[in-house]
Each structure stands twice: as structure tokens, then as C-alpha cells.
Subunit: 322 residues, 2 copies
């Protein structure tokens, strides 16, 4: 368990995470570039829906960290038998990786709107509604959600129907009222209210955790993992999902705005409950490390051989600087 | 072809549309009541996501005409072999009927928001954002779209995976940038601009037509229609989809607000292009009848035996009073 007890030190000298990430990002960016595009009718000369597609592309093709796609691909790598996946499964995993990113991207577009967080900057650029107007931002988010499910259901025989159905089910549930949208509703209702730690955890498990966990499970869907592995990946995904938010709260007070690419200290200014406001900085940092240990421990019990990327991503999530 | 040449007269003395509709509406309302409900976590005591679910239910369970679900079920009836469908197909069709209604309902919620049409009344009730606030309306719409795809992908073996995948594909495409959302983007960009008839048709084919046609095709997906029948149903769906909008434009100038349940004359006041403003009232009325003939003609060439409900619904769409 030495790799679990000291997660801050590099544990996989033979594994080059940067190279692994670089290769996957190239695939994902190329796929998004191709799929978030204009097979929308272009016939009218009023610039729409071309403008809608432009807003969708602006929202997606902006150099996000692509954590969710990376989790999909890392989980898929972990469940491959003999390190080999069929072309169909590889295709499914890449589609799943892009689909979950589209859901994430749409949620940011809607979340930034004036009636929600009213943010004008995202990753150093004007937010979609600032750039294209509120109505276009609303529609672009809506269309991105639909596109996610379209990506998951190619009608050319390239992905098994059972995989398509399973991927849609996992993603829909994680995005909806029992997942991300539900968590955002709790977040809205919680501003200025005292929350217990369990209430805060429940909010984040839905708002951020559900989609991160779904990313892991969607990667697993594209293979045929044993029940023991499925359970381990669920634990891993839940721990990583929560850790991501705890670290987000820590960085909101420890990092500066230019490092974050967004306004630091905003949660505190908005009187939003955070782990740091609730537990204090040091206990939050310890909690993040505990969650990392839980995630890595789950992988050790998973029966999966190829978990190097999942382990490295867990480390990256918890020990990131922005 | 006498049934086609005089669509205003009752053509199916043996078919009681009201009874057929009544039975189907009972099924659909019961299913929506059950499915748009609170398996969202209820643990927090801040009223959310319970409030989110409440907003979703408010948006859906409000006595709409349910035209889209009826089209799904009528098309499914048409493609049944020997008038019999398996329990799995019946389940799939009811899920498809509800899913398409959820997409329609979410589009109304978002369409009514201040940044879009800024409507305060819908079917005589305050719109969702008036009742629950803009942020909740935004999230409720988002969650309804996710729920549509969740409904289509039950993980209990009750619907064949191929059917689930096909239904998701058809619905996602009809809802997205190449369908409903794309049409709304064109609509936004077209206010106050002169449109040709072909441009107006393209806008409506996407904005309203795509989802109506998808309803028909989703019903067909829940059976195994011959290619000839699929082509006929596509023609039927396209004609009905366009006719629906032409009649909508006609009613906007001929009906009063209390009959419509919404503000009459609003399109003209907003300087929105309509069929009536473009073609005149009489030519629009003739066009609606022409589209009805096209829809009924397609059914006659479909090779399908049981098209009575589809025929009756086509008549209802074109000859409706509200």
C-alpha cells in the first residue's frame, strides 16, 4: 500500500502521464472539432443556424482541461482485456469521451448566464452569452446536450446497440435532476444558507461528482468489466468526483485569478458554502488526500491490471494547481 | 381518393377518434405522472432538488394537447404486424411518446424565458420562469431534456437495445442544431427580416417540423416497418409538421386569445414572418389543405393497413380550432 500512503510522490516512474494525456487530448480535440460542426442546415442567409453552431463550437473548442474525456479513456483502458480493445469499443469510448465533455460544456454555458452565476469570463474569454447574446447561449447549451446523445448513437453499426443504450442511460441520469442539474438546483437554493458537511457533500456529489463518476463508468461501459471492477470504478469515480470539488474550494482561496483562469475568491464573496468555509483550509486539504487514498485503494481492489492512467489522473485531480 | 379530396368531412365513420385519443391520453398522462417525478434525491431540507422536480412537473403535467405522443402511438399502431405488438414494443412506444413530450415541454420552458420570447402565460398559467424564477426554469428545461433520454434507455431489459439506440438517435437529431434548436436559432435571427416562402418553410421544418416528424418515426421505430412504409411515414410526418405551423399562423390571426390559450396576434405584433403575412390568409388555408392531402396520400401508398389514427390526427392538426 506504499503507493497509496504517499500519493504526492510520483509512483509510476515508468508512466509518462503528460505523454499519455497529450495523445488522448489530440484524439479528443480532433473528434470534437469534427463532431461539433455544421451538418446543421446552412441554407438560410441570416447566419443561423450557422451562428448557433458557431456558439456551440466557441463553447466547446476552447482548450478546457478535458478531465472528463480523459477519465472516460483511462477507464476504458483499464477494462480492456489483454490490453486490446476492438475498433468498435475504441470508437464508443471516444464518442463517450466527447459526449460527456459536451454535457460539461453546455452546463458551463448555462451556468454562466445572468440568471445563474452571471459570469462574463470563462478561461479568460468572454462567456458565450456575452459573445453571442443570451438567447443564443441558451440555445447553444440546449443543442450541445442533444448533440451529446446524438454522438452516442451512431446509426452506422460502428458501436454495439447495447453499448449505445447503456452509455445514454448513464449520461442521461448523471446530467439530469438526480445528477448535475439537481446539484445545481441545490447550489442555487443554498446560497447564504448554513449547510452541514453532509449537505455540502450531497450537493457536490450531484453537481460535479455525478458527471465525473459517469465519465469513469462510461469508459467502463465500452468494455466488459467484471462486477468487482465495476464496483471499484464506482468507488473510484465517487471519490475523485468529490475530491475535485474539495480541491476546487481550496484553490478558490489559495490560488490567484490568473492561475485559475477565473475569478478567485468568488465563492466566498458570494457567500456560497464551501469545504474551506465549513472545515477550514487544513482539514479540507487532508480530506482531499483522504479521498485520493480512497480512490487509489479502490483501484487496488479492482482486479484490473491497467490502472496507471486512472491512478495518475486521481493524483492530478487532487494535487493540481489550477 | 375520395377520402383525400374532401378531408374536412368525416372519413372514418367506424373510427371514434375522441375515444382513441382519450384512451391514449390516459396512458400518457399516467406515465408522465409516474416518470416525471421524484427519484431525485430529497435529502436536503432546502427544498431542492425537490423544487427542481416541482418545476419540471409544472412544465409537463399541465394538460397540453399531447399531439406528439399521440403521433408516436398512432405510428406505432400503424406498423404493428397483425394488429399485435409485443409488450416490449408497447413499452418502448409509451416511453418514446413521453420522451418526445418532455423535449417539447422543455423547449416551451426555455422559449418562454425573458431572453427568448418573454412570455408570461402558457395555457392560461404563469410560465415556469414566472412561477419558479429564471434559474429554476433554465435548470428544469435542462433536466427535462436529460430525462427524455433517460426514459428511452431503461436498463431492465424491457426494451430492446437496438430500439433504445434508434429512438435516442432520432430524438437527439430532431432536438438539436439540425432540428428544433436550429430552427429556433433561425427564428431568432429572422425577426423583422423579409423571408421567402422557402426560407420560412426551412425555419419551420426545423423548429416545429423536426420533432413532429420524429414523433412519427419514433413510433415506427418501435415496430419493424418495411422500407416503403418508412418512406411514407417520413413524408406524412414532414407534411403534418409543416401543416401544423401553417395552421398555427392562420389561427394567430383568426382565433381569439381565449380560444388559443395564448396571446393571439402576437406574431404579427412582433413582426415575425408567418405564412399568413407572406402568402395571405386564403392561400395559407389552401396550403394547409394541400399538405393534409400530401400526408393522407403518403399513407395510402404506405402499404400499412392500420392508418386510421394517423389519418384522423392529420385531419385534426389541419382542421383544429386552437
Amino acid at each position: 500500500m506504499s503507493s497509496v500512503s504517499s500519493p504526492d510522490t510520483p509512483q509510476q516512474p515508468d508512466f509518462d502521464l503528460d505523454a499519455w494525456v497529450g495523445q488522448r487530448l489530440t484524439q479528443v480535440e480532433r473528434a470534437l472539432e469534427q463532431w461539433v460542426t455544421a451538418d446543421a442546415p446552412q441554407g438560410l442567409d441570416h447566419g443561423a443556424p450557422a451562428q448557433l453552431v458557431e456558439a456551440m463550437r466557441y463553447a466547446v473548442l476552447d482548450g478546457g482541461k478535458r478531465l472528463r474525456p480523459l477519465l472516460v479513456l483511462a477507464a476504458h483502458e483499464a477494462v480492456q482485456r489483454d490490453g486490446q480493445a476492438s475498433a468498435s469499443d475504441v470508437n464508443a469510448a471516444l464518442r463517450a469521451a466527447c459526449a460527456v465533455e459536451l454535457i460539461h460544456a453546455y452546463s458551463l454555458v448555462h451556468d454562466d448566464m445572468p440568471c445563474m452565476d452571471n459570469d462574463v469570463l470563462r478561461r479568460g474569454k468572454p462567456t458565450v452569452h456575452v459573445q453571442f447574446g443570451e438567447a443564443s447561449a441558451l440555445l447553444a447549451g440546449d443543442a450541445l446536450q442533444a448533440l451529446a446523445f446524438e454522438l452516442l448513437t451512431p446509426q452506422d453499426g460502428s458501436v454495439a446497440h447495447a453499448t449505445q443504450a447503456h452509455l445514454c442511460a448513464v449520461l442521461a441520469r448523471a446530467a439530469g435532476s438526480a445528477g448535475m442539474a439537481g446539484g445545481q438546483a441545490i447550489d442555487l437554493a443554498s446560497v447564504g444558507l448554513p449547510l452541514t458537511e453532509s449537505q455540502l457533500r450531497e450537493m457536490h456529489e450531484l453537481k460535479t461528482g455525478a458527471l465525473l463518476q459517469a465519465s469513469v463508468m462510461m469508459g467502463a461501459c465500452c468494455g466488459a468489466p467484471a462486477p468487482q471492477a465495476v464496483a471499484a470504478l464506482q468507488t473510484y469515480g465517487a471519490a475523485i468526483g468529490l475530491a475535485f470539488q474539495v480541491v476546487d474550494d481550496i484553490l478558490d482561496v489559495t490560488a490567484d485569478s490568473s492561475t485559475l483562469g477565473k475569478t478567485a475568491g468568488k465563492d466566498a464573496d458570494n457567500n456560497k458554502p464551501t469545504y474551506v468555509s465549513l472545515m477550514g483550509l487544513q482539514a479540507s486539504q487532508q480530506y482531499a488526500q483522504d479521498l485520493l487514498h480512497r480512490a487509489l485503494g479502490a483501484l487496488e481492489c479492482s482486479g484490473l491490471a491497467q490502472t496507471r492512467a486512472l491512478r495518475a489522473l486521481a493524483n492530478m485531480v487532487v494535487n493540481r494547481a489550477s
